[in-house]
Symmetry: C2
DNA sequence: TATTTATGCAACCAAATGATTGCATAATCA
DNA sequence: TGATTATGCAATCATTTGGTTGCATAAATA
């Protein structure tokens, strides 16, 4: 199964998990406490996130702490870049238009 | 069926469609030409994108031109913002560390 | 007017998805 | 050592997904 980061962030529970582990490493059990689904369901989400190379893990005794590999999120940012270019460009055009309208107004 | 933009961009075909209609309005037929799937399959993708309020449409005769509502893409950007804060912060910290190491090096 | 063309909708289907329960294994604790 | 706890894996299930074919409707063209 080939999965990419866009699949990973498609599910709302997974997005919530990503936010939770963005700033602190958490165990599957600690994560499961935050949701109304079973621990196993959370574990499956973790597995998917892991397959997408979104996670770092550290084993401490019998616990496993998962944390977000934040750099991987930049892939979404990079994909957005092409659209950002467009909306920034259009904003500039709108800005130009407003300046032009203002100068016309000043002349009259 | 409640769908959000993260669902919309989860599918690679839909992502390709979004890129194609980001800068120019296209008809379903024109879009279908770009893929190896049937026109109806493309139409279903368009329907989903439409439900996510990602599209603007203009009817010209019997043709319908679809174009991306680019502003809607900012929702993804906004969600990313929380992660961007983290990675920029960590970059700054790394930067500070390098400066510190450099000054220590200069002293020796 | 008759035919072609562009589109959307419905029915159907195989595969993927998100969840469940049950079980196995490994580490901790009494 | 025996019981408990943390985790992962497998089987199962209902629902969703992405695709197909077929059909209906509306606009353009011969």
């Amino acid at each position: 199964m080939k999965r990419d980061i866009f699949q990973a962030i498609a599910d709302p529970t997974r997005r919530a998990i990503l936010v939770l582990i963005a700033t602190q490493a958490l165990t599957p059990n600690a994560l499961a406490d935050q949701f109304d689904i079973t621990r196993q369901a959370v574990s499956k989400h973790i597995k998917i996130l892991n397959e997408c190379e979104l996670l770092e893990q550290e084993k401490v005794g019998r616990e496993i702490y998962y944390e977000l590999k934040i750099d991987k999120m930049k892939e979404v940012d990079q994909w957005l870049e092409q659209f950002r270019k467009i909306w920034e460009n259009r904003f500039d055009q709108l800005d130009d238009l407003l300046i032009k309208l203002k100068s016309q107004n000043d002349e009259s």
